[in-house]
Structure formats: C-alpha cells, structure tokens
Symmetry: C2
Subunit: 229 residues, 2 copies
DNA sequence: GTCTATATCTCGATAGAC
DNA sequence: GTCTATCGAGATATAGAC
C-alpha cells in the first residue's frame, strides 16, 4: 500500500499491489482519514476521541470501526500516510537539477508551502515522537527498506556535496538539516503564541509566510557561505 | 516566583503576592507538578492519566485531587510554571551587557542548555498550542500585564537594534526570532526520528548538542551580517 | 496528610436491526 | 453499508478510615 521505491522485484510487486489497494480508499474512508488526522494532531493518540472523529467526518462512531477495526489501527493508517507525505513526497525537490542555491531555495519554498497547506502534519509527527514513537519504531524497518533515500538523507547529501565543492563552508550537515527544518516548522508551531503576545502579527500571517521562504534561504545560504576574513 | 520585572507599583504588588503564593508549594506539590509536566508533555491534556502522574510522583491518585482539586486545575498550574520558565526566566540573558554577537551567543547557549535540561517544556507548550491554546488564551491578560518584557520582545529589540546600528543587515526581526528558536527547539523535537533513520547519530547526542550552540550562532550571525557584494 | 475502596461517568467497541 | 442501543473497561473524582 505504501511501499515506495522498492529495492527488489518481490517488494516491487507487493508495492504495486499495495498501490492498487491504497487507491481503492473509498470516499468515506478518505473522509475518515482526514478527520482522524485533524483529531489526532490536535489531541494525540490517547487524547483523540472516536466520537469527535466521527463528528468531523459527518458519520457515526460505528462506521469508524467498520472501516478501521480499532482506534489503534486507524492511527496507524494515518501515521503511514503522514510519514510518507512528510518524508518522501518532499524528496522530489531535492532530486531536481541545479546548483546548490537553486536546489536549496526550491526545497525551502516547497517545504514551507507544504507545511502551510498541511498544518496538521508536523504536529502529528511531533506527538508521535513525544509519546515515545511506538508506531514509528515498529514500522521503521519496512519504511527504511522501502525508502532508502528519503528527504533527510537527500538533504544531508546536498550539504555534503556543497561543502566538498566549496560552495559552502565546512559544517556538520546534520546540524544544518536541523536548523533549516526547525526554521521552517517552528513558524507554524509558534505563530499562535507569538501572534497573541504581539497582536500586530495576526493580520500579517500570509505575508509573513511568503516572506519567510526567502528569509530562511538567505539566512542559511549566506550563513553557510565560505568567509574570507 | 515567576512575575519578573513588573512595570508599575500595582503590578509590583501583585507580583510580590504571587511570589508568596507560588513559593509556598510544598515538596509534595512540587513532586506532583514535575510528574504532571512529564505526563502532560508526553500524552497531552486529555491523554494524560492521573494514575500515571501519581505513579511518577510516587504517591496515590487521591493526593493529586487533595492538592489540586481536578485534572484541569493541575494542568493550569503546570502551564503557568512552564510558561514563565520558558518565556521569562530566559529573558535575563538578553538584558546582559555586551555587543550584538556576545549577547546573541549567550542567549543561544543558554537556550539550548535550558532545552537540554528541560526537554518536556517545549513539547508541553506545543501541545497546548495544538489543542487550540485554551489555557494560554484565558491566562494571557494577566501574564502579559505582569510580564511586559519577556524573552520574545527582548529578542526582537536585540535584532532591531543590531539592524539600526549596522551590525546586521535589514531583516524582519520576527523572522529571525522564529528561525533561531526553531533551530534551537527542533533538535530536541526531531532527534528521536533522525537518530532512528540515521543510527550513527545516536551515540553522538551530547556532542551534537554542544556543537549545536556555535553552529546556530555562526549560521545566524554570519547569515545576518551585512554583505558587500 | 495519606491511603483504600468505591461511586460516577466517559469512551472504545460490538450486537443487531434495517 | 449505515445506524441505534448498549456493554464493559478504564478513567476521574470522592467518601471515609486512619
């Protein structure tokens, strides 16, 4: 269903079969998954209420169990969807042609746009991690096997290459990875607090998001540039 | 205990009264608050279990209700503690003497250290925000009145001043604020995922945290430096 | 102040009609 | 496939002994 970029023919076949399976998600199932993502990202796996998910989806509780057996299984389906969108759908930008600043800028723009369009995604993953990442840990082997090159590894490769070629100074690529992702994500996580503390910000949200892309790019690109002094 | 730097006599009195009130927390109450912070930050307000909080604190459930009436009131006490630690205890670094790079470096070092020593703090606040910030919104007026100058506003002032004096280029200080805080926080939020995807990282955690401080400082300081080209 | 025992209620899950 | 009604586990909260 979710096995992307398989590494062998056997896995590839499973992958195809599963793609078929996943595209057969009915309208109702998709409604439930979307509602569940909202609810889980707001209240966590334990805090989420099946009744609220049903309400959001405009259905009744019994149907949730009809389609997804249990709350835990529903959570797992949502997790799988979120994880792939977040870590692998984003990877495409990083496979694009172009020099270091071009690829870096494209990635940041796409990442901020994705976060803006799917504000529930990062919070869903952060909660999973805060809860000790039980589903993530259990699913990891199959995820990594099926996706040897996700966004994080491609980003690391980008920084390593730019260091080697002299386009950026020598730094730990992992530190840079964290700085960029943090700078992108934290706007959406922190804005509700800051816009309450500093009310002038509230009306400028869309503008701030738009300006944010180049702000991050410039901070990182020039912050990584080799220095002469 | 938490109302720092009041700006008028009236507020100052409220401040003192609150210091008195808050410092009368007994050992048992502090144990409960610490256990509750852990539990709430792992499982959220609804997902947290009173039984688990009691277990963590080495007490029984009934005592939690004896000291803090209800789960909701316990949550509010934890919130107040966390918010003040997070936003106002940190502010001291920013009132220190020194030029732009000195103050900036000191803040980043202290912030990363604080996060490292209190890993539950940011997740607790992120969850509150994700749940729609109900407690935060209700408590905001008293918080802002008692703390006109918290860490966020002092950081903004630092960036504005360095822009004006020419020590950094003209940028939106709010964007820089978000980038720095995000870069600091996201290490602790994201590390569990990345160390699973890239197992080599696991053994280098402490070293990475230590190196992280100067990495962020250099990225931001040089990323903000006026450019000649 | 601290504990055990219990009341009360919420929520996940199921049975069974349609 | 969809719904109503309900069971039963597990949660918050309280009563009352010590």
């Amino acid at each position: 269903m979710y096995y992307v970029y398989p590494h062998s023919l056997t896995i590839w076949l499973i992958y195809l079969v599963n793609i078929m399976a996943s595209t057969t998600f009915s309208e109702t199932e998709l409604q439930i998954l979307a509602a569940a993502l909202e609810e889980f990202s707001m209240h966590g796996r334990q805090g989420a209420r099946m009744q609220c998910i049903a309400d959001r989806a405009g259905l009744n509780k019994a149907l949730l169990h009809y389609y997804f057996r249990s709350k835990d299984r529903l959570y797992e389906e949502v997790f799988t969807y979120v994880f792939h969108t977040y870590f692998f759908q984003l990877a495409d930008t990083l496979r694009a042609e172009g020099d270091f600043p071009t690829v870096l800028r494209a990635f940041i723009h796409r990442y901020v746009d994705m976060l803006n369009e799917n504000p529930a995604l990062p919070m869903f993953l952060l909660r999973e991690v805060a809860e000790g990442a039980p589903v993530f840990s259990r699913r990891l082997p199959e995820i990594v096997q099926a996706n040897p090159l996700g966004m994080p590894k491609l980003l690391l490769a980008l920084f390593e290459e730019s260091s080697r070629s002299g386009e950026s100074r020598k730094t730990d690529p992992f530190q840079t990875l964290i700085s960029i992702m943090g700078a992108c994500i934290y706007f959406f996580a922190g804005f509700p607090i800051f816009s309450t503390l500093i009310p002038e910000l509230r009306d400028r949200r869309d503008q701030l998001i738009e300006e944010r892309k180049d702000h991050i790019f410039e901070l990182v690109y020039y912050g990584l540039k080799p220095r002469t002094e």
